[in-house]
């Protein structure tokens, strides 16, 4: 019983193309999802999703991705979900993504799992994110046996974890809310890394020449989220960590 939750805020045609492309990859999974919940966070753009086994929930007001995911979590728990997975609308899943994530959660003691994220585009910025591990999880050092945190675009949790820990809805944008959840969750549970669960994330760079502003704005957004993140934690023991990057997928010991 695995549920997939996709929060989305559709502003442009590009967003529609992204979610359509994502749902095609969802439909082609080797192991099907029990249900896919697309939670529309009061998008200004009208659109239809004509896919089988997808529940499209439109919220009546904009509350941010954390709130959208929490609504999805409530729905999944009420329908007895065993595993709850999260991705973003601008991702594309590998055919075996669900199979790998589900097997990982079923065969290990980890309460949560993060997969391997690659860049979808071919610009220099995309290559940068691949070797930088911008949207990958971070190892808990020094052992590198579990994750310090995992971004919510390639993330899964067991249902009992979701009953205890949900996203903090004070985070206004898709930045920081996943780190906050992981920090709280790790007080009790461990997050594992499943390199075989691959997905591709479209950062939206049109070309290397025109993508610079987008590149800078991306990191400014992540930096800004830290303020909210601090507020949520009386003690934030930020420590040195190390990003997972594309090269880790080929390391023998993982």
């Amino acid at each position: 019983m695995s549920f997939l939750i996709i929060p989305c805020y559709i502003k442009t045609k590009w967003d529609i193309d992204c979610i359509t492309r994502l749902l095609e990859s969802v439909q082609n999974q080797t192991l099907k999802f029990e249900k896919v919940l697309v939670i529309d966070d009061f998008s200004p753009f009208e659109y239809q999703l004509n896919f089988f086994n997808i529940e499209h929930i439109r919220l009546s007001e904009n509350g941010g991705p954390a709130k959208a995911r929490n609504i999805g979590i409530d729905k999944a728990l009420s329908e007895n979900a065993k595993h709850i997975f999260f991705i973003d609308h601008d991702c594309i899943l590998d055919l075996q993504w669900n199979e790998q994530m589900t097997n990982f959660l079923e065969s290990t003691e980890f309460a949560a799992v993060g997969g391997m994220t690659f860049s979808y585009g071919k610009t220099l910025y995309d290559y940068y994110h691949d070797i930088n591990g911008t949207l990958n999880g971070k190892w808990l050092l020094p052992d590198k046996k579990e994750l310090w945190y995992m971004p919510s675009l390639n993330f899964g949790i067991k249902a009992f974890v979701a009953e205890e820990f949900v996203f903090d809805e004070r985070f206004p944008t898709a930045a920081g809310e996943d780190v906050d959840l992981c920090l709280r969750m790790r007080s009790k549970y461990k997050i594992g890394f499943c390199p075989k669960a691959k997905l591709w994330h479209d950062f939206g760079y049109k070309s290397t020449l025109t993508g610079f502003k987008r590149f800078v704005n991306l990191f400014k957004k992540y930096k800004s989220s830290s303020a909210t993140l601090y507020d949520g934690h009386t003690v934030l023991l930020w420590d040195n960590s190390e990003s997972i990057y594309s090269g880790n997928a080929y390391e023998f010991n993982i």
Partner: protein, 338 residues
């Protein structure tokens, strides 16, 4: 990537910046597969590093700042019976008092985040050896310790050891009029305390402070206490009376001692009760959803307690609470000296 660049406020900044930059760039550069990407990707990494380091968002103010105050109510027991305070009426039984090693462990775990440890009570010097152990541990981590006392149990031996650790001692007095002393303290200890203040000044110098509570019963005494402190060259602070089980009354016309309108306690305070219970504000019982403690350091790790979702929720509630204790010293970012 490390999101904290200066973990200690007094860390040498220039070398730290250089070390931090190369600490980021070096492992990253090894991952670049093609030589002709080397320069553009290093520039991009430098841009990312610069944004995290220099781009000013509200979080900037927290970098390099030890943002938390650990307040330990070491005991509820007291050797005096001041009517302004009701804590002495409910002394904790022996089996509800955590071992000092548990608190010291908690202090060690939090040391990177603390700018101050405060010991209050009850009367902390009933457990003078424990106070000195905390003072030693705080000094190891370069954290300032403030101990609040009524001044009766101060001894020369205690002062020698305490002064060597360069921490602050705050003696609480609300009058210097001997005829009113017994009414204010419940016991005739005027001479002893006055003698101890002078002895403390001798050993501690500027690390001695005097604090008074402004209530309708004591507000006429404040001027004479201030003159006394001025003559003695000791810093003096005042705090408005707040009901913690005492029977004094709020002053009618006395202006606020600070202009603080922000409830800082939720963000900065970590308070431990004698039994190990953890709360974020001494006044938490007034707040409907914050009545129960967040946890107990005897049973759980302090980090685990502070990472609970409830800790986040209580912080959120307390940020908007509008109780008069907002202007208390534990709730303002800086101590205001008279």
């Amino acid at each position: 990537m490390s999101l904290i660049y200066r973990r200690r406020a007094n860390q040498p900044s220039f070398t730290h910046v250089i070390n931090d930059y190369f600490g980021e760039i070096k492992p990253f550069s090894k991952r670049i597969g093609k030589w002709y990407f080397y320069i553009p990707l290093i520039i991009m990494k430098t841009i990312e590093w610069s944004i995290y380091r220099w781009y000013k968002t509200p979080i900037r103010r927290f970098y390099g700042v030890k943002g938390n105050e650990l307040i330990y109510m070491i005991t509820k027991r007291c050797n005096e019976k001041c009517p302004k305070c009701g804590i002495w009426k409910t002394p904790e039984p022996d089996n509800e008092h955590i071992d000092i090693s548990i608190f010291l462990n908690c202090l060690k775990m939090l040391n990177e985040n603390l700018y101050q440890v405060t010991i209050t009570g009850g009367e902390p010097l009933l457990l003078a050896e424990d106070v000195l152990k905390i003072a030693e541990e705080s000094r190891k981590h370069e954290i300032l310790l403030l101990t609040f006392t009524n001044g009766v149990l101060i001894t020369e031996d205690f002062l020698k050891r305490y002064a060597a650790l360069n921490h602050k001692l705050v003696i609480s007095i609300d009058t210097i009029d001997e005829s009113k002393w017994t009414d204010f303290r419940g016991k005739a200890t005027f001479e002893k305390v006055m003698e101890n203040i002078k002895l403390s000044k001798q050993y501690l110098g500027r690390n001695l402070q005097i604090q008074s509570v402004i209530a309708s019963e004591s507000e006429k005494e404040i001027d004479s206490i201030q003159s006394f402190c001025k003559d003695l060259v000791v810093l003096h602070t005042t705090q408005r009376y707040l009901d913690f089980g005492g029977v004094w009354n709020n002053p009618i016309n006395t202006p606020k001692t600070t202009s603080n309108d922000v409830a800082c306690a939720a963000r900065k305070n970590i308070i431990i009760y004698p039994n190990g219970d953890v709360v974020k504000c001494f006044d938490h019982r007034r707040i409907l959803r914050a009545k129960e403690p967040l946890g107990n350091i005897e049973k759980e790790d302090i980090i685990q307690i502070l990472c609970k979702k409830r800790a986040t929720e209580v912080s959120k509630i307390m940020k908007t609470c509008n109780f008069p204790c907002k202007e208390m010293a534990c709730n303002v970012p800086e101590i205001i000296y008279n």
